[in-house]
């Protein structure tokens, strides 16, 4: 029994880390229409920033700095946000599919940097000794995992309610207006570039936070954690849960993570050890197939987009507006 609970906690912790990234991507894509295919790049920045700030000195040649956990979390969000700002200045004026090519290029380049700047990231040897949230306070492994899970629940809840308030505010409606009809929004005096940038930076900072929690969860980083497959997983989660819907983002994250884990276990149990690489390939093919079928037959995902109607609108009218969308 305790084994099942322990596994469930472990499973859900990773699922909630994905949920954080998925919520960040939902702000960018679901609400603003920003086609960010560089999710793994921002995840990487958050993860390595956290590791560098919080790991004990000597973990890599130029770090870490042994800072407290909370400094690492805030630091990783700030650094990822700044990186997103710089990337955004260069790419956010581009057409949607150019943005996709540019962001995937950023993600690939960042992985090359992580692999080759050994003094900062440990390079091919990896980055060891990344601390867990409550460090020395909790000795028992099970309790530490439980505490981590609890922390993830709090983080996801805070982000969820924060984003819900934001997308329902006038600010959130401007984002959707720009997504739907840029010239119309611009003619009302809203600068599309500025709003896109805000959404891009906040969403990327959230993905960076996901990366920081991932680093702390694993305790060890390798550049292999940041291939484009991670981006693909988060996108699949968002599309299947329902882009434009924060509940959908969380649901999709847990659901797809469950499918991913289950197919992985099945492949491991069924295939002989010499075939494990092929098992990994089958896992990706299977998730890809689900994505294709959803895109073809239910493009709105499980939950679909939620209308964001102002609280100031009278109740009767609100119902009509929500039905209309």
């Amino acid at each position: 029994m305790i084994g099942v609970v322990a596994y469930l906690i472990f499973f859900l912790s990773q699922g909630l880390i994905f949920a954080v990234c998925c919520l960040g991507l939902n702000l960018q894509w679901g609400n603003t229409g920003l086609f960010n295919v560089g999710v793994s790049g921002f995840y990487l920045i958050g993860a390595y920033t956290f590791a560098l700030l919080c790991a004990p000195a000597g973990s890599v040649l130029l770090g870490g700095f042994g800072m407290p956990f909370i400094v690492g979390i805030i630091g990783s969000m700030v650094v990822t946000g700044i990186a997103a700002f710089i990337i955004g200045v260069a790419t956010l004026r581009l057409r949607a599919d150019y943005l996709a090519i540019a962001t995937i290029g950023v993600a690939i380049s960042l992985r090359l940097v992580a692999l080759n700047t050994t003094s900062l990231t440990g390079g091919a040897q990896g980055f060891p000794n990344v601390p867990r949230p409550f460090g020395g306070l909790i000795q028992n492994n099970f309790d530490a995992n439980l505490a981590f899970f609890g922390l993830m629940v709090v983080i996801v809840a805070v982000i969820y309610f924060g984003l819900e308030a934001m997308v329902r505010s006038p600010w959130g409606r401007v984002l959707r207006a720009i997504r739907e009809d840029e010239p119309a929004a611009a003619s009302l005096g809203k600068s599309p570039f500025s709003y896109r940038m805000q959404s891009f930076v906040i969403g990327s900072a959230l993905i960076g936070l996901g990366g920081a929690m991932f680093a702390s969860f694993l305790g060890f980083l390798s550049s292999d954690n940041f291939f484009s497959i991670m981006t693909f997983q988060v996108w699949t989660m968002l599309i299947i849960g329902g882009s434009g819907n924060n509940k959908g983002a969380i649901l999709g994250a847990i659901l797809i993570w469950a499918v991913w884990t289950a197919t992985g276990s099945v492949a491991q149990a069924v295939l002989p050890t010499t075939m494990q690489v092929k098992g990994g390939a089958l896992q990706i093919i299977f998730i890809g197939l689900i994505l294709m079928l959803v895109l073809l037959f239910r493009p709105r995902g499980i939950l679909g987009e939620e209308a964001s109607v102002s609280r100031a609108v009278p109740k009767g009218l609100k119902k009509i507006l929500q039905k209309g969308s």
Partner: protein
């Protein structure tokens, strides 16, 4: 001293990029979406040819080249099968999604198709690198300071011949003219009775076929791996964008430029950052001149 050699290497790599980028720029131009799965045509073609070559073996080779008739037949088979693969992909995924009229859905689908195809290649052919022949291709000094293998020279010549044939096809045949008409203005072309559907089919056949030649040549001169397509997709996009989306001459020029940039970046940034060099050039072009060198349309 080393510069002529780097330029020669850049031209070899650039030739394969040019062949691959033509299909990418054509799909982008006529169907209006960035096909991330295009690189997988290169991967699959390399394996299609490998299956034929390893089934029939190649004992005798042409002079200094590392391959013989089986490879040439394998190359032709790869072109045909890859064109079929492109048509099947369009029929299964892209055509149904085109009806929904949401361009971005197509790009997401192509991103998913890329990962699926790459892993199908891993599943069937394994993840280790393969080669068409165990023969070592000898690099000889053909110009002062420039060493090239016979295979490299074959690659550059074949690319040049295909470019000339493509040019004749586009300017001299009815189909080629129709294709250019659709590229210029699809609505106007439709009004004059051109079947856009048929043109789209030919875009997949020609784009997929040229990608197949590129993929087999990469397999011949570098290696055959399931990662080939994905590791080339960024340089391919860079080539198409630098040249100007929709321009076939642009794709050729862009391919050569990106090949040269990658090669010349090696002594400056190190071989590990080749991909990043291609990306930076692409980003600069997007920012300074988004329509590329030869692109006419905005």
């Amino acid at each position: 001293m080393i510069l002529p050699q780097l330029i020669a290497d850049g031209i070899v790599a650039g030739s394969t990029l040019a062949l691959g980028a033509i299909g990418l720029t054509m799909t982008y131009d006529i169907m209006r979406f960035a096909n991330f799965a295009h690189g997988e045509f290169l991967t699959f073609a390399a394996y299609f040819a490998l299956m034929f070559v390893s089934a029939f073996g190649g004992v005798q080779t042409f002079g200094p080249l590392t391959f013989g008739w089986t490879f040439i037949v394998g190359l032709i088979i790869a072109v045909v099968l890859t064109a079929i693969l492109a048509l099947v992909l369009d029929w299964l995924i892209y055509r149904p999604l085109r009806r929904t009229n949401i361009v971005i859905t197509l790009v997401i689908a192509s991103f998913g198709a890329e990962l699926m195809l790459r892993n199908i290649a891993v599943f069937f052919w394994g993840s280790q690198s393969r080669f068409y022949s165990t023969a070592i291709s000898i690099h000889r000094e053909i110009l002062p300071g420039v060493r090239m293998s016979a295979d490299d020279i074959f690659l550059v010549l074949l690319t040049a011949v295909l470019m000339i044939l493509l040019q004749l096809f586009l300017t001299r045949t009815q189909l080629g003219k129709e294709m250019r008409a659709v590229s210029d203005n699809a609505d106007l072309a439709r009004v004059t009775g051109i079947s856009v559907r048929r043109i789209i089919r030919w875009v997949w056949i020609i784009g997929g076929g040229l990608a197949a030649v590129s993929g087999v040549l990469v397999g011949l001169t570098v290696q055959i791996s399931p990662e080939n397509g994905f590791s080339l997709i960024l340089p391919l996009f860079a080539a198409a964008i630098v040249g100007g989306i929709g321009s076939i001459y642009g794709a050729v020029a862009g391919g050569l430029i990106i090949g040269l940039v990658e090669s010349l970046s090696v002594p400056i940034m190190g071989a590990q950052y080749k991909l990043a060099a291609a990306f930076i050039v692409m980003l600069v072009v997007l920012l300074v001149r988004p329509r590329g060198i030869f692109g006419a349309k905005s």
